[in-house]
C-alpha cells in the first residue's frame, strides 16, 4: 500500500485548504486529488490503493455516497479506509455514510484553525496510528 492520500474534492478552495492543513501538521504524504466521483473510481481502478480516501459527499457526476458504495462493493477496494470530509452535518448524511461503510465522518469546520486541527488528527490517525491492511 502506498502512502498516497486520495482527496476527492471538487471545490478548489477546499482542495487548497485541505492540502495546506495536512502540510501544516507535517504530513508529508503525497496527496492525489480527484475532482469528481467518477474520476475517483477511475483512479482507484488504475492505481495502487491509497492509505486513505478523503471523500467529499457533494461531487459532480457521482456523488460521495455513490463513490463509497462502489468502493465497498468492489472486492479489490472494499477494505480501503474512507473518511467522509464534508460541510454537511445532517444526521441523514452521517447515518448513511456510516451505513455504507465509511470509516469516519469529519465535518469541515469554517474556522481554518479548527480545520487544520481536524486534518492533523486525521492524518495522525490514519497514516501513523492505524494498522495498515496487510497486502494480500
Amino acid at each position: 500500500m502506498s502512502k498516497i492520500i486520495l482527496l476527492v474534492e471538487d471545490n478548489p478552495s477546499d482542495e487548497k485548504l485541505t492540502v495546506r492543513a495536512l502540510k501544516n501538521c507535517g504530513i508529508a504524504n503525497e496527496v492525489h486529488v480527484e475532482r469528481d466521483g467518477a474520476a475517483a473510481l477511475d483512479y482507484l481502478a488504475a492505481h495502487e490503493l491509497p492509505t486513505v480516501v478523503l471523500l467529499d459527499l457533494k461531487l459532480p457526476k457521482l456523488d460521495g455516497l455513490d463513490v463509497l458504495k462502489r468502493i465497498r462493493g468492489d472486492e479489490r477496494t472494499r477494505l480501503v479506509p474512507v473518511v467522509i470530509l464534508t460541510s454537511s452535518k445532517e444526521d441523514e448524511d452521517v447515518v448513511s455514510s456510516f451505513s455504507f461503510g465509511a470509516n469516519a465522518y469529519v465535518r469541515k469546520p469554517v474556522d481554518f484553525t479548527e480545520f487544520a486541527e481536524a486534518a492533523r488528527t486525521l492524518g495522525l490517525f490514519w497514516l501513523l496510528l492505524n494498522e495498515q491492511i496487510p497486502r494480500s
Partner: protein, 785 residues
C-alpha cells in the same frame, strides 16, 4: 212457563186455604166434623190418603179414633180399619216420633225396607197394600200444645211429594190444628160452664181461632175489621210489609194499600159482605221503606162477625224476588268471573269515591290486596286521571274509562284501568326513534329481502332526490348503477344470513348524477328473530371524497415543499459554508505565511475577515438546526434527560477553567425525540454556561418539579439574567437581549428550544431578573394530543 205454573198453583193454594179456613171455622163446635173435613180436604189436595189422629188428654197416646180418608173407596175402609183401630204410644213409630219432636217428617222417595223398619209392624200389611212411595207426617200444634198427628201417604204409581205440596199440607195442618184446638176449647167450655150461649161460644172460638196464628208460615195472615182496624197479624205478613206488630196495631190497615189499588179492595169488600168470601186478588201494599210489595190476597168473613174478616196474603214479590235473586246470583257470579278475567284493573267506587270492589288485576297493578283497598279513597291509587300509584311508590301511566253504575238505588262508578307505562315508554321510544330517523341527515331506508323499498326518511329524500311517495314500493335497484346490481344481490344475501354489511359505493340521484355513499346495511328481524328485511343507512361521502382528495393534494404539495426545503437546507449547509471556509482559511493562511510582512492594522483586518466568516458559519448552522426542528419527523423514545444534561455540561465545561457548580437531578426521563432532546439540552445548557461566564462561580441546575399536576423541567443559572419586561423577546429568532460584545450568540438558540418544546406539545417559560440569573421551565407531555 214454570213461573206461570207455579203461580197458578199458589193461587189455587191460597183459594183452598181460604175455603178450608172458612169450613173449619164453621165446624168448630164439632171436633169430629173438623177432623173428617180436614182428612177429606187433605186427601183431595195432596192425596192419595190421609189419616189424622188426636192426642189423648194425658198427652201420652195418639188416640184410636180420628179421621182417615183415601181416594179409592175400597182402600178407604182398609185404611180406616188399620189407622184408627188402636192407639199408638207417643215416641214410638213414625207418627209417635213426630209427635215427640213436633217436626214435620217428609220422606219424598221411600225405600220400602227402611220405611218398614221405621213404622210399627201392624201397619206393614196396609203400607204394602197401599204401595206407599212417599209420605208426609206432620205434627198438629195449637197454642203450643200438641193436639194430633197427620199422615199423608202416596202410593204407586204416584209421584213423590214435592215442596209445594209439603208447604200446602203444612199450611192446612196449621189450620186443622187450630180448628181442633178451638173445638176442644169450645167443648171444654161447654162442659165446664154449660151456660155459654152459642153465639158467645162461637165468637170466642172465632177469636181464639186466630189468636195465635203460626208465626213461621210463609203465608201472611191477618184478622181485621172492615174499617181497617187490625186484630191479628202474623210475622210472615209483618215481614212482607216491614212494620212491627205494635206499629201496625196503631195504624189503619187501609193505609197500606196505595190509592191506585184501593178499587180492588173495594170490590173484595163488597163480595165479602155478599158471600162471606172475598175474591182472590192481586194487589200491592206499600212497604215501610216506601217500596211496593206485590201480594195475592184472599179473605173470608169470620164466623159470627159481620165485618171482621181473615185474610191470607201471599208475597208474590218474595216469590219473584227469589227468582230474581237466583237470577241475580247467577249474574253476579258471572259478573265476578267477568271482573276477574278482565285484562284490565277494574275498580268500582261508591258515591263518596271510596273503593268498593277491585279485581285481581287491580291487586296486581297497584300492589295492594282487595281487603287493603276496600273503603279507601280512590286517590290512594289514582291520584289523577292519567297516573296510578303503586304501593311501593312507583308511578304508573294509566288509561281509564269510567262509567256510572246504578245499583241498589245508588250511583256507583266503574273504572277500567289499564297500565300503559310500558306501552307509553315504548311509544315514546318509538317516537324518539322516529324523530331521530326523520331528523337524520343520513338516508335511512327500509327494504324487503327482495330489495323492495318499504320506508324512506327525509334524509333519503334529500340524498337521492325521490320523495317517499315516489319510491316506496319500488326496487332498490333504481338507486344503483347498472354495473353494481350484482353487488346489491350479494349484500342482500349476506343480510338475509344475518350479517351487517358496510361498504362504500356509487349510487344514482334522481337526476342521474352519481353519488359516493357510505352504506351500512343491517338485517331487520321480526319478534322471532327471523330476518324479514333490511335497513340501509347511507351517507353522502361525495364531499368527504372531495375533501379527502383535496387533503391528499395538499399533503402532496406540502411534502414537495418539504423536499424542496430539504434540498435547500442541504445546499445552504454545503454550499454556503464552503466559501466561508475559503474566506476564513485564506485569511488565516495569509496571516500565517505573510503576517510578518504586514502591519498591525492589516493583520487586524485579516482577523476580522476570518472572524466574520466564522460567525456566518455559526449563524448558518444555527438556522439549519432551527429548521431541522420543524422539518424532522418526531420520534419518541424514553430519554434520560439528566444524562443528556451531564453530557452537555462535560462537553461545554470540560476544557474550561471556569469554576462551576453543577446540580443535576438524577434519572429524569421523558418520552421525546432523541435528536431534538439533545439539541434542546445543548442549547439550554449552552445558554446557561454562556450567561454565567461573568460570575465568579457559575451555578447551573437541572431538575424536575410538578406544577398544576404536570411534570415540568427547569434549567436554572445564576448568570446575567434578563429584564422580565423583555421576556417575550427571549424566544424570538435573532432577538438578543445582550450586545455581541457582552455575550456572543446567534439569537437562535432559544428560538430553537421553544420550537422543540412546542413540537412536543409543551410550553416553555423564562423567569429572571437582571444580574440575578434565569430559570427556563418547560414541559414535555408524554404524547401530543
Amino acid at each position: 212457563m214454570e213461573i206461570e205454573v207455579e203461580r197458578n198453583r199458589l193461587v189455587e193454594h191460597v183459594r183452598m186455604l181460604v175455603d178450608i179456613s172458612y169450613e173449619l171455622a164453621a165446624a168448630t163446635d164439632d171436633s169430629r166434623r173438623v177432623l173428617e173435613l180436614a182428612a177429606r180436604r187433605l186427601t183431595e189436595l195432596v192425596g192419595d190418603c190421609c189419616a189424622i189422629r188426636t192426642v189423648t188428654e194425658d198427652g201420652e197416646w195418639l188416640e184410636a179414633g180420628g179421621a182417615a180418608c183415601h181416594r179409592d173407596p175400597q182402600l178407604h175402609d182398609a185404611l180406616e180399619a188399620v189407622m184408627l183401630s188402636g192407639r199408638q204410644r207417643i215416641g214410638t213409630g213414625m207418627s209417635g216420633r213426630v209427635a215427640t219432636t213436633r217436626l214435620p217428617h217428609v220422606i219424598a222417595r221411600i225405600d220400602p225396607a227402611e220405611f218398614a223398619a221405621a213404622s210399627e209392624p201392624r201397619y206393614h200389611p196396609l203400607l204394602e197394600r197401599l204401595a206407599v212411595v212417599s209420605s208426609i207426617t206432620l205434627p198438629l200444634v195449637c197454642r203450643g200444645e200438641l193436639v194430633g198427628v197427620v199422615n199423608l201417604l202416596r202410593g204407586a204409581p204416584g209421584e213423590p211429594y214435592d215442596s209445594g205440596e209439603v208447604d200446602l199440607a203444612t199450611s192446612v195442618a196449621e189450620h186443622v190444628a187450630l180448628a181442633i184446638g178451638n173445638a176442644r176449647l169450645v167443648a171444654s167450655e161447654r162442659r165446664a160452664r154449660e151456660l155459654a150461649e152459642q153465639a158467645v161460644a162461637s165468637r170466642l172460638a172465632a177469636e181464639a181461632r186466630f189468636a195465635r196464628l203460626s208465626d213461621c208460615g210463609i203465608i201472611g195472615t191477618l184478622v181485621c175489621d172492615a174499617d181497617g182496624r187490625v186484630h191479628e197479624i202474623n210475622d210472615a205478613l209483618l215481614d212482607m210489609i216491614g212494620y212491627t206488630r205494635d206499629e201496625i196495631m196503631a195504624m189503619n190497615w187501609r193505609e197500606l194499600t196505595p190509592p191506585d189499588w184501593s178499587h180492588v179492595d173495594n170490590l173484595a169488600a163488597g163480595e165479602l159482605v155478599r158471600s162471606g168470601v172475598g175474591g182472590l186478588r192481586e194487589k200491592q201494599y206499600v212497604h215501610k221503606s216506601g217500596g211496593r210489595v206485590t201480594v195475592l190476597v184472599g179473605s173470608a168473613l169470620l164466623e159470627g162477625y159481620s165485618t171482621r174478616s181473615v185474610s191470607f196474603v201471599l208475597d208474590l214479590t218474595g216469590r219473584r224476588a227469589a227468582e230474581v235473586a237466583a237470577k241475580q246470583l247467577r249474574e253476579e257470579r258471572m259478573f265476578r268471573a267477568l271482573l276477574e278475567s278482565a285484562p284490565d284493573a277494574m275498580v268500582i267506587t261508591d258515591e263518596a269515591g271510596a273503593i268498593a270492589i277491585v279485581n285481581t288485576r287491580g291487586e296486581e297493578i297497584f300492589g295492594y290486596s282487595r281487603d287493603e283497598l276496600a273503603g279507601k279513597p280512590l286517590e290512594l291509587v289514582l291520584p289523577d286521571e292519567e297516573r296510578g300509584l303503586r304501593r311501593d311508590g312507583t308511578e304508573l301511566v294509566i288509561e281509564q274509562t269510567t262509567s256510572p253504575l246504578d245499583y241498589d238505588g245508588k250511583r256507583w262508578v266503574s273504572r277500567s284501568i289499564r297500565d300503559v307505562t310500558e306501552r307509553r315508554r315504548a311509544e315514546a321510544q318509538r317516537g324518539r326513534l322516529a324523530a331521530i330517523v326523520d331528523a337524520s341527515d343520513d338516508a335511512i331506508i327500509g327494504k324487503s329481502l327482495e330489495g323492495i323499498i318499504t320506508s324512506w326518511n327525509p334524509g333519503a329524500a334529500r340524498l337521492f332526490g325521490y320523495t317517499a311517495e315516489e319510491i316506496v314500493g319500488e326496487s332498490i335497484s333504481k338507486l344503483i348503477p347498472v354495473l353494481a346490481n350484482s353487488e346489491e344481490r350479494e349484500v342482500l344475501a349476506a343480510v338475509a344470513r344475518g350479517e351487517v354489511v358496510r361498504f362504500e359505493a356509487m349510487r344514482c340521484h334522481k337526476s342521474g348524477r352519481e353519488l359516493a355513499v357510505a352504506v351500512t346495511t343491517s338485517p331487520v328481524r321480526d319478534a322471532n328473530g327471523r330476518v324479514i328485511g333490511a335497513s340501509k343507512v347511507a351517507r353522502d361521502i361525495t364531499e368527504k371524497r372531495q375533501s379527502e382528495y383535496a387533503l391528499a393534494r395538499a399533503k402532496e404539495s406540502a411534502e414537495t415543499s418539504a423536499r424542496e426545503l430539504e434540498a435547500f437546507s442541504y445546499s445552504v449547509a454545503h454550499d454556503l459554508r464552503a466559501p466561508l471556509r475559503g474566506m476564513n482559511g485564506f485569511a488565516q493562511m495569509l496571516l500565517d505565511d505573510y503576517g510578518g510582512k504586514l502591519d498591525e492594522e492589516a493583520r487586524d483586518w485579516l482577523n476580522e475577515i476570518a472572524n466574520n466568516a466564522r460567525k456566518m458559519g455559526a449563524l448558518i448552522d444555527a438556522l439549519l438546526s432551527l429548521s431541522r426542528v420543524t422539518r424532522s419527523e418526531l420520534r419518541r423514545e424514553s430519554i434520560d434527560l439528566s444524562h443528556l444534561v451531564r453530557a452537555a455540561a462535560v462537553h461545554i465545561a470540560g476544557s474550561s477553567e471556569r469554576v462551576a457548580e453543577w446540580e443535576i437531578q438524577d434519572g429524569i426521563r421523558a418520552d421525546v425525540d432523541p435528536s431534538l432532546a439533545r439539541s434542546l439540552v445543548d442549547n439550554l445548557i449552552g445558554n446557561a454556561w454562556k450567561f454565567t461566564s461573568k460570575v465568579a462561580v457559575a451555578r447551573i441546575a437541572f431538575g424536575e418539579i410538578e406544577r398544576d399536576g404536570a411534570r415540568e423541567f427547569f434549567v436554572r443559572d445564576n448568570g446575567a439574567g434578563f429584564d422580565m419586561a423583555y421576556a417575550n423577546k427571549l424566544f424570538a429568532p435573532f432577538q438578543r437581549l445582550h450586545t455581541m460584545r457582552e455575550f456572543e450568540g446567534t439569537g437562535i438558540g432559544l428560538a430553537t428550544v421553544q420550537r422543540i418544546v412546542r413540537r412536543h406539545g409543551g410550553r416553555i417559560t423564562a423567569e429572571g431578573a437582571v444580574g440575578a440569573g434565569a430559570t427556563f421551565s418547560f414541559s414535555l407531555p408524554a404524547e401530543r394530543a
